[in-house]
Symmetry: C2
Subunit: 361 residues, 2 copies
């Protein structure tokens, strides 16, 4: 087992990464404050891991709530079900929520914990690759609004993150690849050495080779923990983690969260952001091609949706959180491993970049 | 104009108290970050003060949303209307929300500000006595759940609080008296000198005599600011502000927020909590009677609702936020001006205190 640490003063917490962690009740014991625990999971994960997780918390007074699976359920309405359960079971301020599932479960459970009685503790047990390398670390929580993704939320750090790599064995291939998009992102924004390793080893990762996978997860979490420790509330550098996301969120919102998976949308968004970086003279043509290439080899989409107009992109992007007094704030690349925040791109240049990322066939 | 300050490091903010403040645009100018402003108010307040408030923000790009009036609308569903408006108008992270109204509007607007894009700025312009002396100061925000009051919320401090005493001229008598209950509370928990002043001057306050009213509001805000500065997130002493509230919340929840006004429920709750304090040997009989007496003279209810069983009280109280691992944590009085946190009272003793506060006639 590896233990990484997210350093945030009195809100610091450990990330445990390893195999068979769900069989280790001692791991969670010190992170639960009092007797009450509520496990929040979904209909897909419950049959696979709920019993095992309940055993992990068998020393506590442990309830559970099972939500429907999917990004389209990441809403205030679903959140209400968590509050209903907490109140029916009379959970007090010392309760601990446990998020067992992917990013949707983690974000919603974290937000419920942030708001219930104005803030209670929670533990992240991410079971998808995407949640393990991204959403479970860093304290961003929230739900979607029909007009925009993650528009309603809070910064609320977990008490610990438990990444049991074994849970990936049951992850469908498409979701697994969606997680790879966020892993590639860390190479692109912050770590050219890791990107080169990924460029060489992407096929091993696609085959879920155990050693490669463990290394990729650890490297991703390390990169994320470093950036979050520097800027917990995204006042500055943390924004680079949104590379590809403003374009990606626009696609997801436009599709009402029923089309691309999050990582797939981020893959397309990353390709567009790279193209824009190239177009504005920051990124070399060679690196731009290399980026497109690694997403293609990871079997991820690289084209903007056929029937999504560029003006629709702009419209949704202007509603995203990255708008500052009307100007679009985007994350661009100077080179692979060096992302920066930019408000330079004009709407026309953005439209051109989107249109260059369309499937010509 | 008086200016008090709530001292909370980088979250410190001023409370402006005076007449005709809604006619002073310069007051808000320095508290608005960028160009976007959203005024949140309700159907009762809008015809009275919305235009005046819009003029106050006429230098900005100012939208407004008008909600239905009443505690029963303080819900996640109503909150959604604020988010809808913010997103339709494409408000970004630099927007400023303005709460124009009573406690319900203030709590909801503050909570919307806490959650929108994970946190934006807001200004409190309380127009009821209750909001002016209590809910607008201190950063407690939130909405109700059918099973409990203020169960979903956040600590989120405003950028400033603007108390225009003139807005009280349009306040209905019953609501005005409801505010007096919270004013009396400050005397009871923290300030025996202020309580004695209130005991002498309560009739002047009932007549809304200008000087008495200004003094009562300033003294209340000062008491609140002091306690909040000491314990922003209610880890300790701040809990004394909940004197009478655990009983009061039980009544309000049981009535589905359609019976007593908040201050009326707090009045009954304060009388019960005083009776319990007397019964447990803390408070003298004389002071207990004096407390009952001042609420009676303020024309506030002092009896538990006839058809609300004591067991129902207990049931609702156990769902309140003041439960710590199953034990009821109550605020009691050692004497007038000295409140303390107690987990000593047994359920039986609580039931006796409730039953002693029933209308015998």
């Amino acid at each position: 087992m590896q233990v990484l640490s997210v350093e945030l003063d009195d809100r610091s917490y450990p990330i445990y990464i390893g195999n068979s962690l769900l069989d280790q009740p001692l791991l969670v014991k010190k992170h639960v404050k009092a007797s009450q625990v509520l496990i929040v999971t979904n209909q897909t994960i419950a049959p696979l891991y709920l019993e095992q997780t309940q055993r992990m918390f068998s020393d506590f007074n442990c309830a559970s709530v099972i939500l429907q699976d999917g990004e389209c359920y990441k809403s205030l309405e679903t959140l209400q079900l968590i509050f209903d359960k907490l109140l029916q079971e009379k959970h007090s301020r010392t309760t601990t929520l446990v998020a067992l599932g992917g990013g949707v479960i983690g974000d919603m459970t974290g937000f419920a914990a942030a708001c219930y009685q104005r803030g209670v503790a929670f533990i992240q047990i991410p079971t998808t690759l995407l949640a393990q390398v991204d959403s479970s670390v860093g304290g961003k929580t929230g739900v979607n609004h029909p007009l925009g993704k993650n528009m309603i939320g809070a910064f609320h750090q977990p008490s610990c993150v438990i990444i049991d790599i074994d849970t990936l064995h049951t992850l469908p291939d498409r979701e697994y690849r969606s997680g790879l998009a966020e892993i590639i992102k860390y190479g692109l924004i912050n770590d050219s050495v890791f990107f080169n390793w990924l460029y060489i080893n992407i096929e091993k990762l696609l085959k879920r080779e155990s050693d490669a996978l463990a290394f990729a997860i650890e490297s991703s979490c390390l990169n994320k923990a470093r950036i979050v420790a520097e800027d917990e509330n995204e006042l500055g550098v943390r924004a680079v983690l949104n590379f590809g996301h403003t374009f990606g969120h626009a696609i997801e919102s436009w599709q009402s969260y029923r089309g691309f998976l999050h990582g797939e949308a981020v893959a397309v968004g990353s390709v567009i952001a790279s193209e824009l970086s190239f177009q504005l003279g920051f990124l070399s043509n060679e690196e731009n091609q290399k980026i497109r290439d690694i997403f293609l080899r990871a079997n991820l989409p690289v084209y903007a949706p056929d029937n999504m107009e560029s003006s629709t992109f702009i419209d949704f992007m202007q509603r995203d959180k990255k708008v500052v007094d009307g100007r679009l704030r985007l994350i661009l690349l100077k080179s692979i491993g060096r992302a920066f925040i930019s408000e330079d791109a004009s709407l026309e240049q953005i439209v051109v970049a989107i249109d260059r990322c369309r499937n010509a066939s």
